[in-house]
């Protein structure tokens, strides 16, 4: 299996700054079908109010007034103006100690977790490895929720007969977590890319058919659904890159306008690209067209690359480095779009965009 230590190759710094930017004036809820909107213009909504009820149910992440539906870059959004009162339907947190297994399952909505928890599990690994060298969301989720995760893991071990629950973390997280490492078991994985991908991580950790890997985000969902008994209205995203003076992981309201969030950051150079989610092959976007939804994990602001693209020299480095052992120069469904082929290409060709996407 081929992986690369990007921290060494690119002189990246490990990120340990955390900020909260929740003061958005408006939120923009993505709407596919206007008929499915369940609120009207002028309605007052509370935090957690259902505003859109299609297959995916969308809830307001702020309290405020419903304004209108607008078009932004060919997508429709419902705008809600923030009243900054954070009004919400009061729901009580549940006590896990007195919760039966059946009750636990009845509160559960997360399908990934449901599918795994009903199996006979020897080892359950929680994937807390961010799948990009610039992104540190999972690390920050882990750090900020570690006590709740420890309680949940203890409950799961006891009630679902799981022999071991271990949190898979990068070596660099181990040092950063320090005092936060309460009584949880960890398995440390080298700082190599793309080990945060479940398929790749499973090759490191899974030794029997009774071993499973679950994403940290699914565990956080379970925490909110079962214990905290409320919707998660904030989202962690990492703002990082070689053109950002003060990179950090931030907690923002879901459906915030990215351009407003970025106004809190000082940029070093005027010639830059804003890349979503993956610093090796993510989409280059205009922040004026982007709303922070569940799909967005990181915004990488990098100086424009000085290299020119030239004709493929067929050196085969992209084939050598591919963790899925495919030829990235031929379109293949197995491609996980990790971007390692882009990274190593001496001709600086964006192979993922040109061939796989």
């Amino acid at each position: 299996m081929k992986t690369i230590n990007l921290l060494n190759k690119c002189d990246l710094n490990v990120l340990n700054n955390y900020k909260v930017i929740l003061n958005t004036d408006y939120i923009f809820i993505p709407i596919k079908n206007e008929d499915k909107i369940v609120v009207k213009k002028g309605d007052k909504v509370l935090k957690g109010t259902l505003v859109y009820g299609d297959i995916d149910k969308l809830y307001s992440s702020i309290s405020g007034i419903v304004l209108d539906v607008i078009n932004l870059n060919n997508y429709k959004y419902l705008i809600i103006k923030n009243d900054f009162k954070e009004l919400t339907n009061n729901t009580r947190a549940r006590d896990l100690n007195s919760m039966s297994k059946d009750d636990f399952l009845s509160y559960l909505n997360n399908n990934n977790f449901k599918n795994i928890i009903n199996n006979n599990i020897d080892n359950l690994y929680i994937n807390a490895i961010d799948n990009d060298p610039y992104i540190y969301n999972k690390y920050m989720y882990l750090k900020n929720n570690i006590k709740d995760i420890a309680i949940l893991c203890k409950y799961l071990k006891k009630n679902f007969n799981i022999e071991n629950i271990k949190i898979a973390i990068k070596n660099s997280y181990h040092e950063l977590l320090g005092e936060y490492k309460v009584d949880l078991k960890y398995v440390r994985v080298p700082d190599i890319y793309p080990v945060g991908n479940n398929d790749i991580l499973s090759k490191y950790l899974i030794s029997s058919s009774n071993d499973y890997i679950i994403e940290l985000k699914d565990i956080i969902d379970v925490l909110y659904e079962v214990i905290k008994n409320k919707k998660e209205h904030e989202k962690y995203i990492t703002i990082n890159g070689n053109n950002v003076k003060n990179p950090s992981v931030i907690s923002v309201k879901k459906y915030s306008y990215l351009n407003n969030i970025l106004s809190n950051y000082t940029l070093l150079d005027n010639e830059y690209d804003i890349i979503l989610n993956n610093s090796l092959c993510g989409l280059v976007v205009n922040p004026k067209n982007i709303i922070v939804t569940d799909d967005i994990d990181g915004v990488i602001i990098n100086k424009k690359c000085k290299y020119k693209t030239s004709k493929c020299s067929k050196c085969g480095l992209c084939v050598n480095v591919c963790p899925m052992k495919i030829n990235p120069l031929i379109k293949n469904k197995k491609c996980i779009k990790c971007g390692l082929c882009n990274f190593v290409c001496p001709s600086k060709i964006n192979i993922v965009d040109e061939v796989q996407r």
Binding site: D273, V284, N302, K311, S313, F343
Partner: protein, 303 residues
């Protein structure tokens, strides 16, 4: 270009490393085929620089032709830093016999460069074809000989060590195995270098050689001496590994290398051709194309 994270490896860095190799080999060629011959009063002062002049003129002519074609005819911008062509022309030059006529060399280099611009041969090693063209023309005009004035004037009986250190005859810079090993070690710093190819090809050649000699009760030492002098190792190191014309998948690289080893030995032994490696590369290129087509057909049938 977009701000995606990129490795620091660029084509120009790879090309620079190749030029370092060319510099080392040309230096050696100038010493062996220039200074030594001058000391023995076999050539004049200008003759010392013949290897250097051949290599330099090959590089400059190639750059000029590409510059004129891209900048003047196609009205585009020629990026000389990313152009591999002059580099491989220089490597081919280093495999030629020293006694090649300068004019003939220039004519073939100019013609082959012009042809390359108009006929984009993707699967057959074009630089290898240029080498074969040189061999055929030299054979036709009766000048195909790797013996220098020194070799023809002085009776020599080289030991294997002498040959290993490049004292025997051969192409301009193909004979010194010790230097080639050093060059190979330098090339290992080039991440894009297909380092498996020379190792597997040489191993395959030696295995074939041993089996053949055991079967036919020939002298293994004599064939090893031939292996050292016949330019096979240089060809494996630099011509068989030209990225544009060698396979990229590991399995294909192994098949390609094994075939080059076996076919080179067969050609060298049976047809008694000094430059068997270059014919072997062409034959193997054709076999690999056939293999790839077959593989694609099987995959398509399974789909």
């Amino acid at each position: 270009m977009s701000g995606h994270l990129k490795s620091k490896l660029t084509n120009s860095k790879i090309i620079l490393l190749y030029y370092l190799i060319i510099l080392i080999l040309t230096g050696y060629a100038t010493y062996k085929n220039g200074i030594i011959l001058y000391q023995k009063n076999l050539i004049n002062l200008i003759g010392i620089f013949k290897p250097l002049l051949l290599v330099l003129s090959g590089i400059i002519i190639t750059y000029l032709i590409n510059y004129i074609y891209i900048n003047v005819i196609k009205k585009d911008k020629y990026d000389y830093k990313e152009d591999y062509t002059p580099l491989f022309i220089a490597l081919i030059t280093l495999t030629l016999p020293l006694n090649i006529s300068f004019i003939l060399y220039l004519v073939i280099i100019i013609l082959s460069n012009i042809l390359k611009l108009f006929y984009n041969i993707e699967f057959i090693n074009y630089y290898n074809l240029i080498k074969i063209l040189f061999i055929l023309i030299l054979l036709i005009i009766g000048k195909y000989s790797y013996l220098t004035l020194y070799d023809t004037n002085i009776e020599t009986n080289f030991s294997t060590l002498d040959l290993f250190l490049g004292r025997g005859f051969g192409g301009i810079a193909t004979g010194n195995i010790l230097l080639l090993i050093i060059c190979y070690l330098i090339m290992l710093f080039n991440e894009a270098y297909k380092k498996e190819i020379p190792i597997i090809a040489i191993a395959s050649y030696i295995i074939t050689l041993v089996i053949f000699d055991l079967l036919f009760k020939n002298s293994v030492v004599l064939d090893i001496k031939n292996l050292i002098t016949n330019g096979f190792i240089f060809g494996c190191l630099f011509i068989a590994t030209i990225p544009m014309y060698s396979p990229i998948k590991y399995k294909e690289k192994v098949i390609y290398s094994i075939l080059i080893g076996i076919i080179s030995f067969v050609i060298n032994k049976i047809f008694n051709i000094y430059d068997g490696i270059y014919f072997a590369i062409i034959i193997t290129n054709i076999i690999i194309i056939g293999y790839e087509l077959l593989e694609r057909r099987i995959i398509n049938e399974h789909k």
